[in-house]
Every structure is written in C-alpha cells, then in structure tokens.
Amino acid sequence: MNRIPWLTVTMASLSALLAGASLGGYAQYDRAALLRGEVWRLVTGHFAHWSFAHLAWDVLAFLILGALCERRRWLFASVILGTALIVSMFLFFCCPEVAMYRGLSSIDSALWMWGVFIIGERHVSLALTMLALFIAKVMVESFGVALFADGFTILPVLHLLGALAGFCGSIAEHKIAHFSDATLHSDGQRDRVRRRRDESAVVGGAV
C-alpha cells in the first residue's frame, strides 16, 4: 500500500481523458462499430462514461480498489484486461439488444471481489462484510434502483461477471504466491543440502 499504484492512476487518467476530450463515442462499446471491425471498443468501452457523475463515482471506486489490489502489476493488468474482454464478449454474444455500453464498474466489481480476498488475509470478518456489501449492491441494482444512472440501464449480471473475474484473479494471485513460497522453500532446502555436502567434502578432504 505504500508504493504508488501507477497502473491504477494511469487507467483512471485514461477514463478522465476520454470524458474530458469527449472521445467517449469513439471508445464506447458499440455493437454496430464492433461488427464493422472496431475491436478496440471491447476494452476501451469500459473507460468511457455517460455522464460526469457516472465517471466520478466509477473512477473513485477504481482508484480505491486499484490501490488495494495493485500488488503484482502484470496480474493486475491481466485481470483488468480479462474482465473487460469477458464482459464485452458476454454483451456481444448474450445481449444483442444492448447497442452501447460504457462504464468502469464491471472492472470495479472485479477489483472489489479481489479486494475481499486481500482483506480476508488480515480480517475475515471485514472481508465478509465487504462481500455482503457487494451482494447487497447487486441486489439493489437488480430491483432497478440505481443512483446516477439516468439515461442508461445498469446490468447487474455484468457486475457479477466482473466479480467472477476478480475471484479468478485472487485465486491466480494465491497460486502464484504459493508457488513462489514453494520455490523459495525448495531453494532453501537445496541450499542447505549443498551446504552440508560442501561441509562433508571439506571434512573428508581434511581426513
């Protein structure tokens, strides 16, 4: 938490830049444009927003959760890219009636779920509270109650999909950490064996 989460800051700036320069239309998920071959929209659509309030709350959540989750940068970037692609592909194949999509919240949901596991490493009860908050949020959205969502529909299923991607990210991080520990452990054992051999060789030589 002490180092600067550069990837988070860069991606949040990208969202602000797209809104500030009114480039949202060129970046948004646009089904018709995708069919024309503008495939970058699968990723950039998540960084475009419909309104200032939409941008502000999404980016604020992204900054907080990004600062929490950005521990291994390549993994963090992979989770964000993976979430963006999974959600966009889901929209493309399963929701053909959605013509446009904008918003970072699917990625925020992924980071939220990832954050649950990170907090769970320290405080299980707080992690469960955070998980309960997420479930409550999705349930509220399912009933169609959403603040700052004028003029567009929130799709809670995309948040669940994002959370699933975040869950996969946390498992990946856990496995990587376990593998690293195992490697360190085996390296330590190898060192100890080598040291013993060296010591016995020295003793044998002396004999």
Binding site: M1, G24, G25, Q28, D30, A32, H46, H49, W50, S51, H54, W57, D58, L60, A61, I64, L65, L68, L91, C95, E97, V98, A99, M100, Y101, R102, G103, L104, S105, S106, D108, S109, W112, G115, I119, R122, H123, L126, A127, T129, M130, L133, F134, A136, K137, V140, A146, L147, F148, A149, D150, G151, F152, T153, I154, L155, L158, H159, G162
Partner: protein, 273 residues
C-alpha cells in the same frame, strides 16, 4: 358608332371594388395546445420508451379546424405509414380530433393517452397562410371585363405541417418533422376565392409530400441518435427490458461503506506495528 361607344363604356367601366392586400390564416398551434398559459421552465425527466412503442396520432385541436375530414385522414395516414414500417413500433392508434380540447395542455394529452393506451403521441399541427395582393394589372379592374378576365391578383400560399412526437409520461419531445410548401399564382377578382381554395389544397398536398420524406428521416434518426448517445434525454428499453444504452455504475452509498471496510482493515494493522 354611338352604340359602339355605349357598349365600350359599359364593358370597360364598372363600379369596381378595388381591394387592397388581403390575407387569411388557418392555424393549429402545438405550443398553444401543450402550454396554454405561460411557458415555465419545467423539470425534465429522461424519457424511457418501452419497446414496442404504442403510438397515438392526433391533430392539434384548433377552432376552427384547418383541414376537412378527407385531408385529415390523408395526413394521418402519412404519419401512420412512417411509423408503421418500424420494427420497434407496436400499435398505432388514430386519435379522433374531438378527443382533444383546444389549449388542453399535457393534462388533456395524458387523459387521452390513458384512454387510448398509448405511450407516445404524434401531434400534427398545420399552419397555412394565404396572401392575395393586387398587382399593376389590377388597374384594369375598372372595367367589367377586367374583373372577370384579367388575372391581376397575385396570391401566395405558404403551408407548414409539423409533426411532433411527445412521450406522454415524461413530456419529452422525441422527434419533430416539418413539411412545408409555398405556391403562388395569379387570379382574376371573381375567381380569387375558388383559386385560393384550390391553392390551399395544393399547398397541403405538397407539404404532405415534403413531410413524408422528412418524417421518415426523423423516425430513422431517432433510434440512431438514442443508440449513439446523442439524445441523453431518451432511453429505449428493449423487449427484454434492457436499455439500448447500458452502463455500469458505482453508487456513492456502497462506495462509502466499502471505503469504511477497507480503512477498518488497514488502520488497526498500522497500530499493531
């Protein structure tokens, strides 16, 4: 010779009426109907259009009605055809003129929309103005022959037909399409009334043709502009209950609660150190 002079005098003179410029106007005003008092700034709500749309088509009521029943029917049919060919339009109801009251406002419109079970009403208004001006040739009206034979009056007929589709619940204007025409001609004084009536019909016919083209364009561009996000005040909800424009949003309440949880998870750790 005397007989010839007398005949010439009879033919060339007459107690002519020499009228100055005249104009007449038939008008039904959408603004007067929807905003009968002063127009106050109203809080706008985004319109949520649930597909398939149920559309009602009606004439803006006026006294007297500017069109005869045949013209009304023809015009309503043009508007109906423009909407009928769209896959996102469900039912189309023609609302009789007598159902709406002049200067009725949105209250009147809402009542009729409930009665007819429609979400959107396309209101058709007509504004036609006809001018009849004398020209230099009008000097010859001093003769009896001149009044009957010489077309010395210039007439000008300007017609504007306007179709505005309004979402009844949110009062949002969805689209507007005009159709206009301007025709002019000359007429002798005794023929002016008949000519003006003819020009009125002809002006309406040409304006309707123009409207057909413009309305088709406006209806097509409505869906496109909503889908592209240019019309933020309108959201189209598909048959599956999903918006054309989707998004993911974080809400401040859950964000604050999440922040509290994260802070609670990290602050005690620092103390422990």
């Amino acid at each position: 010779m005397r007989r010839f002079i007398v005949l010439a005098l009879v033919l060339l003179s007459g107690c002519t009426f020499f009228e100055g410029p005249q104009h007449r106007r038939y008008r039904s005003s959408l603004v007067e109907y929807l905003y009968p008092g002063e127009i106050h700034a109203q809080e706008t709500r985004p319109a949520q259009l649930q597909l398939p749309l149920k559309i009602g088509i009606a004439f803006v009521p006026a006294e007297p009605q500017p069109l005869d029943p045949q013209q009304e029917e023809r015009l309503l049919e043009i508007v109906r055809k423009s909407f009928a060919s769209r896959d996102w339009v469900g039912e189309i109801q023609l609302i009789p003129s007598s159902y709406l009251h002049p200067r009725g406002g949105f209250d009147d419109l809402e009542q009729v929309a409930r009665l007819m079970n429609v979400d959107v009403v396309a209101l058709v208004s007509v504004d036609q103005i006809q001018y009849n001006d004398p020209t230099l040739l009008s000097i010859l009206y001093v003769s009896v022959v001149g009044q009957y034979v010489l077309p010395g009056d210039r007439n000008d007929t300007r017609t504007l037909i306007d179709v505005a589709a309004v979402d009844v619940q949110s009062h949002a204007f969805l689209l507007r399409a005009p159709g206009s025409s301007r025709i002019s001609g000359m007429a002798a004084p005794v023929d002016v009334e008949r000519r003006l009536r003819h020009k009125s019909d002809e002006g309406l016919r040409l304006a309707m043709l123009d409207l057909t083209k413009n309305l088709d364009t406006a209806v097509v561009s409505l869906k496109t502009s909503v889908a592209e996000g240019r019309r933020r005040d309108i959201d189209i909800i598909s048959r599956k209950g999903v918006s054309f424009r989707a998004g993911g949003a974080m809400d401040p309440v859950s964000l604050v609660l999440m922040l509290i949880v994260i802070a609670a998870a990290f602050v005690p750790m620092r103390r422990a150190r």
